[in-house]
C-alpha cells in the first residue's frame, strides 16, 4: 500500500483536483454572471431600488429577516413580502413599529422618511420579480 500510493501522489490529487474543479467553477460563474441580469431584471435597478437596497443593508434588516432565504430566521421572508402584503401595508407596518405587544417579537422603530419608505418598497418590489426557481413554495415565504 505504502509503496503503491505515495504521499506525492496524494498531494498531486489534491492540487490537480483543486485546480480542475476551480477552473470548472470559474467557467460556470462566468455563465451565471451573464444569466443573472436576465433572471433578476437588472435593467429595472433604478436609483430608487438601489437606495432601497442601501437602506435594507445599512439597517441590517437580514439581522432578523431573510432575503431569498438568506439572513436570520427571526422574522418573515422579505424576498416576496411585496407579493404577500403589498406596498401600503409594508409602509404602514414599518411606521407603527415597535408594536410593544408583551412577549411578541419586536421590530425596532426605523425613522424613515416617506421618500425612503417609497425607495424601500421599490426595492422589495424588485426583489419579488427575481426568478428564484419557484422559491418560496407559497406566499407565506
Amino acid at each position: 500500500m505504502q509503496q503503491v500510493f505515495t504521499k506525492a501522489m496524494a498531494r498531486n490529487i489534491f492540487l490537480g483536483g483543486a485546480v480542475f474543479f476551480l477552473a470548472i467553477y470559474v467557467a460556470l460563474s462566468v455563465d451565471t454572471w451573464r444569466q443573472i441580469p436576465v433572471r433578476d431584471h437588472a435593467s429595472e435597478l433604478s436609483a430608487a431600488v438601489r437606495h432601497g437596497k442601501y437602506l435594507v443593508d445599512s439597517n441590517n434588516c437580514i439581522g432578523c429577516h431573510t432575503v431569498n432565504g438568506e439572513g436570520a430566521y427571526y422574522a418573515p421572508e422579505l424576498g416576496n413580502v411585496y407579493t404577500r402584503r403589498g406596498p401600503d401595508f409594508i409602509k404602514q407596518w414599518i411606521k407603527i413599529q415597535p408594536t410593544g405587544v408583551p412577549g411578541r417579537r419586536q421590530m425596532p422603530h426605523f425613522d424613515f422618511s416617506d421618500a425612503e419608505l417609497n425607495d424601500l418598497v421599490a426595492y422589495l418590489q424588485w426583489l419579488s420579480h427575481i426568478d428564484t426557481n419557484h422559491w418560496p413554495p407559497n406566499a407565506e415565504g
Partner: protein, 465 residues
Amino acid sequence: MNFRSQLVAKPYFVAALALFLGQILFGLIAGFQYVDGTFLFPAIPFSVSRMVHTNLLIVWLLMAFMGAAYFIVPEEAQTELYSPRLALATFWVFLVAGALTILAYLLVPYSDLAAATGNAMLPTMGRGYLEQPLPTKVGIVLVALSLLFNISMTLFKGRRTSLNVILVGALWGLALLFLPAFYFPEDTVKASYGWWWVVHGWVEGDWELILSALLGFILIKMTGVDREIVEKWMYVIIAMTLISGIIGIGHHYYYIGAPEYWIWLGSVFSAIEPIPFIMLIVFSIRMLLKRRRENPNQAAMLWALGTPIVAFLGAGLWGAMITLAPVQYYAHGSNFTAAHGHLAFFGAYAMVSLAIISYAMPLLRGRVANGIAAQRWEMSGFWIMVISMLAIALALSGAGIVTAFSQRMGDHPLSFMDTQAQEQVFFWLRELAGVGFLAGLLAYLVSFFVPGEAGYDAAVKRALS
C-alpha cells in the same frame, strides 16, 4: 514546546476562550428572545444580539487559528518564530479592534455606525457574518497580513513539512477568501452569489484544510505515528474536501436567483461533501490505534477523537439532510439550517480549536499535561457541551420541520408568525440546551484553574517518593 517564541500563542488562546464565553452569553440572549420577544428590547434588539453572537464566533475562531499557527509553525519548521514581537503586537491590535467593534454594535444603531464609518463610500455592511464596519474589515486584512508575513518567513527559514505547507497555505487561503467581503454589488443576486465565496469558501473549503492540519499536528504529536502516513492521509482528505466542496457551493445557489443548472450540480457534488468528514473519523481512529506511546493528556485525545465525529454529524449528516434541492426547497431559510450551522460550526471549528488548546495550553504553561482532577473537569466540559449542542441541533431541527410542514406545504399554509408560535416548545428546549452548554463551558474553563500536573515528570516523582 521546543521554542520560546511559541509562547506567543498563549494570549491568543486565552482571548479566544474569553470571547467564546461572550459568544455563548449573547447566544443565550438571542435564544431567549425567541421565547420572549420583548426581552431586553429595545436596548439589545435580536438583530444585535445575534450579530454579536455570530461575530464573536468568527473572532474567537480566528484567534484560536492564529494562536494555533504561532504554536505549530515554529515547531514544525524547527526554528523560532520570525518575529514574536510582531505576533504579540498583532494580538493586541486584533483584540482591541474586535472589542471596539462589538462595543459599537451594542452602543450605536447600525445605520449610524454605517454612516460614521464611510459605508456609503464603499458599502460592505449588512451581510451575514460580514456585518463589520469598513475600518474593522481593513483591520482584519492587516492582522491577517501580519500573521501571514510572520509565519511565511518562519516557514522559509526552517524545515518545510507538508503539514506546515498545508497550514500556512490554508491561512493564505483564509485571507484571500475574505477579500470578496469588500465586493458588495448593487445586484442582490450577484451580491449573494459572491457572499458565498467568503462563507462557503471558508467553512466548506479552506477552513477544512486548517482543521485537517490542526488535527494532523495533534495526532503526530500525541501518537508518535510516522508523519509520512499522517501527511498522506491529510492530502487525501483535503483533496476530497475541494473535489466535493468547490462545485458543492451550488447548494447555496438553488433559490437565490442563480441559473437552474446549479440545482443538480449542487445536489450531486454536495452529496459527496460528507466523505472527507468520514475519512477524518477513520483517520483519527486509525492513528490512535497505531499509537506508539501513551500520552498523559487524555483530555486532548478526547477532543482529537471527538472533533471529527461531531464535525461529521454537524457538517456531514445534518448538511446532507438539507443539501438535496427538493428537500432544501422546504428547509431553506428555516431553523433546520440553523441546526446544521450550530452543530457544524461547533463540531468542526470550535472543537478543533479546543483540541489544539487542550494539547498546547499545558505545554505553554510548562507541563506535559494537566493533573487528573483538571482533566476530569475538562472532559466533563467536553461531554456536557457536545450533548447540549446535539440537543440544540435537535430542537432547531424540530422547529425547521414544523416550518416545512405548516408554513410551506398544504393548501392553507400558516403565516410565518403563526408557525413560529407553534414552534415555541422547540425554542424553549433550545434555550434549555443552551444553558446546558454554558454549564459545560464553565466546567471546561474551571479546568484551567485546577492546580496540579500529570505527565512523565510527575509519574517519576511519585515513583521515587
